[in-house]
């Protein structure tokens, strides 16, 4: 695997994994408090089973978390890091 591909994979994990953990917690808290049948979508009740709403809720939270992680990663980029080679990013652990 090339270094470039390795970094891409690593960044992907930085985005996806913390978002997954957060989504699990968010799902637990949100659906402990709210009954899926009490939720409304543009004013109409959701015409779906609770299981479907739970699952969609989870992926919704996950997607939100991914967006947040990705934005963090994007804002964390410094001009110096972009000037050098792709491998020049400061924060990643050097390949061993």
């Amino acid at each position: 695997m090339t270094t470039r591909r390795w970094l891409t994979t690593q960044r992907l994990m930085w985005i996806v994994w913390p978002a997954f953990l957060t989504a699990a917690v968010a799902e637990l808290v949100f659906f402990s408090i709210f009954d899926p049948f009490d939720l409304h979508f543009f004013g109409a009740p959701l015409d779906m089973s609770r299981e479907s709403i739970y699952a969609m809720g989870f992926f919704g939270f996950w997607a939100l978390g991914c967006a947040s992680s990705a934005l963090t990663l994007f804002l964390e980029r410094t001009p110096e890091a972009d000037m050098g080679a792709d491998a020049g990013r400061g924060s990643g652990a050097p390949p061993r």
């Binding site: 695997m1 299981e51 061993r96």
Partner: protein, 478 residues
């Protein structure tokens, strides 16, 4: 001053070659060597205990239902004799707090014992390694197999291994979903190929996570993905038991024959056999000191003890010890005495207090819950000449596992009466019933305005099972 000759030295990571695809770093595959010993026995015991519970629990029956079932579709959690409703979410919070404090306590006392012995990541990796050894052979055989060119035997071994892993993963995924939807019914529907879309999805999702984490990611999960690994250091102190290499005793290390008196040759007890490195599931050398990659599994302790036995040296060159004891050379008893220190006592006290409070609260949990809301439609109306009526929506939840009948009455205004329902009201086992309730009061009973009243709901068979709910009654101006 002479001008400094500046040169630019380009720094670029060396291109990796032929390594395994690691998700976090370019990873050298670790082939942990099998080890025997007392800590390994503990781990095997815990693997068996946790998995008997995990795979077995959903099959237990209780009161003609699954003993442990988190019924998400009906939003009711059954744990043996107790039924939890969404209103009981506080217990979930309590459980999480208890788990957190238990983790703090264990970590302060003995480092990452959780990681090394009971964490699902360790447990499943251990099971997967066991399968791998059964099929591919021991560490050396595995390394040889991986280095060998593709052959029929290699492909057969790899296929068998992955098939076994996938089968176990699928069973794990099925069991996982079986905690949320009745497992027997789920099994029947799988056999009949009549599984719902989301159920199928979650079975495969969990199976994929198990297969990926225990088969492929392994120590990378502990090193890079686990948040606990990152903040454990704040719970460590000088007296925390960690896996430690006795530098004073071991160094200078070096190879020697069994008959040689190493003291005469100026050598320490470490024969530099590298067994401690070979058995390590995270591939570290514990002789470099405590590292965050160390999951405290004590495999190196077992490995080293065996070598010490063979050499005729005392055991414990690598052992559970606190950093203070290593520095001060304190005795085993001294280490254990220091386990009881303010930090652990405070953690234990908090843990005990929360556990007792939760236990008492569970024991006193009323099998009746009531929720009352005024009807949103009308504030008040005249039901008959001179009779004012207010309408309420009364939700009665019977958490007991037998149907129960309740009598509803109201107090707070002279002559207040419950109308429009047939008393007593029956509510089925572990279910809720919405009762539209009409309360009637004579128009002259009190001054116009809002009055506080109380609804009393009482079980017919047991007057201790009762709830008093406060609400309001509106008397309009005539």
């Amino acid at each position: 001053m002479t001008p400094v000759d500046t040169r630019t030295i380009p720094i670029a990571p060396a291109p990796p070659d032929g390594d395994d695809v690691g998700l976090y770093e370019i990873r050298k595959k670790i082939y942990p060597r099998a080890v025997t010993g007392r800590f390994r026995n503990w781990r095997v015991a815990l693997v068996i205990a946790t998995q008997v519970v995990y795979y077995g629990l959903p099959w237990l029956e209780w009161n003609d239902r699954q003993a442990v079932l988190f019924d998400l579709a009906l939003r009711k959690f059954y744990i043996f004799g107790i039924v939890f409703w969404p209103q009981d979410v506080i217990y979930l919070a309590v459980l999480l707090i208890l788990s957190a404090f238990a983790l703090f306590l264990f970590t302060a006392v003995a480092g990452r014992v959780w990681c090394g012995f009971a964490c699902p990541q360790t447990v499943y990796t251990e099971i997967f390694l066991w399968i791998e050894r059964r099929i591919e052979g021991d560490r050396l055989a595995q390394m040889k197999l991986d280095a060998a060119p593709n052959s029929l035997r290699k492909i057969a071994a790899k296929t068998t291994k992955h098939a076994a892993w996938i089968a176990l993963s699928l069973w794990t995924g099925y069991t996982f979903v079986g905690y949320f939807t009745p497992i027997r019914d789920l099994g029947i529907r799988i056999v009949g190929a009549d599984l719902g879309g989301w159920e199928t999805f979650w079975v495969f999702f969990y199976a994929f996570a198990t297969y990926g984490n225990a088969g492929w990611m392994r120590e990378q999960v502990c090193k890079y993905m686990c948040p606990y690994a990152r903040f454990q250091s704040v719970m460590f102190d000088q007296d925390t038991l960690i896996i430690a290499y006795d530098v004073a005793r071991g160094e200078p290390r070096g190879a020697r024959g069994r008959k040689v008196d190493h003291k005469v040759r100026g050598l320490g007890d470490c024969i530099d056999c590298s067994i401690c490195v070979q058995v390590c599931p995270t591939g570290i050398d514990i002789r470099h000191g405590l590292q965050y990659d160390c999951i405290g599994c004590a495999a190196c302790v077992d490995g080293c003890d065996q070598v010490m036995d063979k050499m005729g040296y005392p055991r414990g060159l690598i052992r559970y010890a606190s950093s203070r004891s290593m520095a001060e050379g304190s005795s085993h008893r001294e280490i254990w005495r220091r386990v009881l220190r303010p930090r652990t006592l405070v953690y234990s006290a908090i843990l005990l207090a929360i556990a007792v409070a939760a236990g008492v609260s569970l024991a006193l949990k009323s099998p009746l819950k009531v929720d009352v809301a005024r009807d949103r439609g009308a504030l008040a109306r005249e039901a008959a000449p001179g009779v004012i009526e207010n309408v309420y929506r009364l939700q009665i939840m019977n958490t007991a596992e037998a149907p129960r009948r309740f009598r509803i009455s109201a107090v707070g205004l002279p002559g207040i009466e419950v109308a429009g329902i047939e008393q007593p009201v029956e509510v089925g086992a572990a279910s809720a019933r919405l009762v539209p309730l009409r309360l009637q009061v004579g128009a002259e009973a009190a001054a116009p305005g809002t009055h506080r009243i109380e609804l009393q709901i009482e079980a017919v068979d047991d007057s201790r099972v009762a709830r008093h709910e406060s609400t309001t009654f509106i008397l309009p101006r005539p």
